[in-house]
């Protein structure tokens, strides 16, 4: 009797909540959770789409870290890339959003900053091949030759020394998008009353206002921006391939996802590819957790 009572109370209290969540849960479980779970399971097999599948335990992971030198190169490249592009893109887009928000003509400025990430990365490769073309036809080589800074064209997209820097520059150019827009929306979301109250309470400068009101109020957006920055930075692939080719010379532009793509869609070794994906997942998950701890509101 008591059980029945509390059950009906539970249903009465929460049914609306569950009903509202239901559409999301259905689609999310079917198209996200299920595939991810399958992928993790596959990482312990030798599934290759053609032959019968066997369980191989942690063998894929052992191969990955002990025998696969190209993977270690990819790991190093990806970390170097992420350490530079993540923070630079993040800080830059926040600063741009914060400054823009206080100016006239914000819509025009905002479009200019956001436009690069609207374009499709693959399509923009037309432009990059022109800018960084390794002969004197390339815009940048042409400019440097003409001003006498260099004597012979730099092999931007072929010389292993320059491949990663070029990828980094292009990625920073494209990285403004997501974070910038979320920060801008977040700044709109801060209750304007706080600024008035702060002005009465004697806040002196824009910097103080930023530190004491804007940043604490924007923690949710800052967190979102940080998580996407980490995921995007570690997921670098399209830009790297469209600039340096696939595979890139001496694997100088090889990234974790490029390695994954190689095994999944070129060699069809799905088990091994899933292991790479799982490693990538663990890396971003750990970093994401650290960031969440630092930026989460107190009650989380």
């Amino acid at each position: 009797m008591w059980m029945k009572n509390s059950l009906s109370r539970f249903v009465r209290k929460h049914w609306v909540g569950y009903l509202m969540l239901l559409p999301f849960v259905i689609f999310f479980v079917v198209f996200m959770v299920l595939p991810v779970a399958v992928a993790v399971c596959l990482s312990f097999t030798d599934y290759n789409m053609f032959q019968e599948m066997h369980l191989v335990g942690a063998n894929n992971y052992k191969l990955l870290f002990l025998d696969d030198r190209i993977f270690l190169t990819a790991l190093g490249n990806t970390f170097l890339f992420a350490v530079i592009v993540g923070p630079v893109g993040y800080l830059f887009s926040f600063f741009a959003a914060w400054v823009l928000n206080q100016l006239k003509f914000r819509n025009g400025f905002a479009l200019a900053f956001y436009a690069p990430s609207i374009t499709s990365g693959v399509a923009m490769s037309v432009v990059w091949t022109y800018f960084f073309s390794p002969d004197s036809y390339g815009l940048i080589n042409n400019l440097l030759l003409e001003t006498g800074i260099i004597d012979t064209p730099v092999l931007w997209t072929q010389d292993p020394t320059y491949i990663l820097p070029v990828i980094i520059v292009v990625s920073i150019w494209m990285s403004m998008g997501t974070g910038f827009l979320v920060f801008l929306a977040g700044l709109q979301n801060v209750d304007k009353g706080y600024y008035e109250a702060a002005a009465i309470d004697g806040i002196q400068s824009r910097y103080q206002e930023l530190k004491l009101i804007t940043l604490p109020m924007m923690k949710p957006q800052l967190l979102f921006g940080a998580i996407t920055a980490v995921t995007n930075a570690f997921g670098v692939f399209d830009v790297a391939v469209s600039i340096a080719g696939f595979p890139s010379p001496n694997y100088a532009g090889h990234t974790i996802v490029a390695h994954l793509y190689d095994y999944a869609f070129v060699r069809f070794q799905m088990g091994y590819a899933s292991a790479i994906a799982t490693v990538l997942f663990v890396i971003t998950f750990v970093i994401g957790r650290i960031i969440m701890r630092a930026l989460s509101p107190k009650d989380e």
């Binding site: 609306v16 909540g17 509202m20 969540l21 559409p23 999301f24 849960v25 689609f27 999310f28 198209f31 996200m32 299920l34 595939p35 991810v36 399958v38 992928a39 596959l42 100016l103 006239k104 914000r106 819509n107 905002a110 479009l111 200019a112 900053f113 956001y114 990430s117 609207i118 374009t119 499709s120 693959v122 399509a123 923009m124 037309v126 432009v127 022109y130 800018f131 004197s136 150019w173 827009l181 979320v182 929306a185 709109q188 979301n189 304007k192 600024y195 008035e196 949710p220 957006q221 979102f224 998580i227 980490v230 997921g235 999944a264 799905m270 790479i276 994906a277 997942f281 994401g288 969440m292």
Partner: protein, 295 residues
């Protein structure tokens, strides 16, 4: 010190004084905008370049004698195929509009319930969302294909729409915004006797305009530019979307001979996203004017 005069919406003329420091900020921003826009300006210029200007040495950044030939080439090569160009436009629009609308409803409803109702299990669900947020989309494509296939959805519009309704990214974004939404307003609506769905629709949604406008832009851009999923899910030529169509016509991005046509195609593809961005951005900014205390 410079004085600028603006006519406000209500008809008043307002004078804005620009201090030296502020002007410096504008100048620096302007320089930055020019720098950021260079690749796009080049893209637009190339779209209008005649063939001889595409391969001139030394390379030219700007176009000298603009021509529409690249565009007419593009449309001509499209009209010769069995599927009319407008059909691709319709496919892209249809899929994108349904995806954007669906994801906004699904994400806002779910996030609102999770933050304000907190039914048991929400925290677990949210942790799952965070976890999948960090899983590379390339490897989930394989098992996802198996799921879509077993539902018999391959080669249908649904294969491109349904998997993109509950995106962890979108949900996370909206949830972050709902958390900032004051509980008082919801309480007030409840006391006034508004039902749950009414509260959501007429109290919460209007205030979340900056959030879902942002989400609409993201969703539109990713759905509109999506090349990978139509590639693996669609085989019927009449169902294909613009990115696929344009890619077939330009013969892959590596064919140098068609740089002009590719630029024209890229430009045409980018225009709708710019329009959507402009409209939505205005909406984000309007909510600020609405709350109207400070600029």
């Amino acid at each position: 010190m410079i004085k600028l005069r603006f006519r406000e919406r209500d008809g008043y003329v307002r004078t804005v004084r620009l201090s030296g420091a502020r002007m410096l900020v504008y100048l620096v921003l302007l320089a930055l905008v020019v720098f950021i826009s260079l690749p796009l300006i080049y893209l637009i210029c190339t779209a209008f370049k005649p063939l001889n200007e595409l391969y001139v040495f030394p390379p030219q950044f700007f176009v000298r004698e603009p021509t529409m030939k690249n565009f007419s080439d593009l449309v001509l090569s499209l009209s010769s195929s069995s599927v009319p160009f407008l059909r691709y436009v319709f496919n892209s629009l249809f899929i994108t509009v349904l995806t954007v609308g669906g994801t906004v409803i699904v994400s806002t409803l779910g996030a609102y319930s999770m933050v304000k109702h907190r039914p048991p299990g929400s925290k677990f669900l949210f942790n799952l969302v965070i976890a999948t947020l960090m899983f590379s989309r390339y490897v989930t494509q394989i098992p996802r294909y198996l799921v879509v296939n077993s539902m018999g959805l391959v080669d249908s519009y649904a294969a491109l729409i349904l998997p993109n309704l509950a995106v962890a990214y979108n949900f996370f974004l909206i949830k972050q915004f709902v958390e900032q939404f004051p509980n008082d307003l919801i309480e007030a609506a409840r006391i006034d006797g508004a039902g749950e769905f009414r509260t959501y629709w007429s109290i919460v949604m209007p205030s979340l305009a900056p959030a879902w406008s942002t989400l609409m832009v993201f969703s539109f851009v990713s759905s509109w530019n999506d090349y990978f999923s139509p590639l693996i899910y669609l085989s019927d030529q009449a169902k294909k979307t613009l990115p696929l169509a344009l890619n077939t016509i330009s013969g892959g991005s590596s064919s140098i001979g068609r740089a002009g046509a590719i630029s024209a195609a890229t430009m045409l593809m980018t225009i709708p996203t710019v329009i959507v961005f402009t409209i939505m951005q205005k909406k984000v900014m309007e909510t600020m004017i609405y709350s109207g205390i400070k600029g």
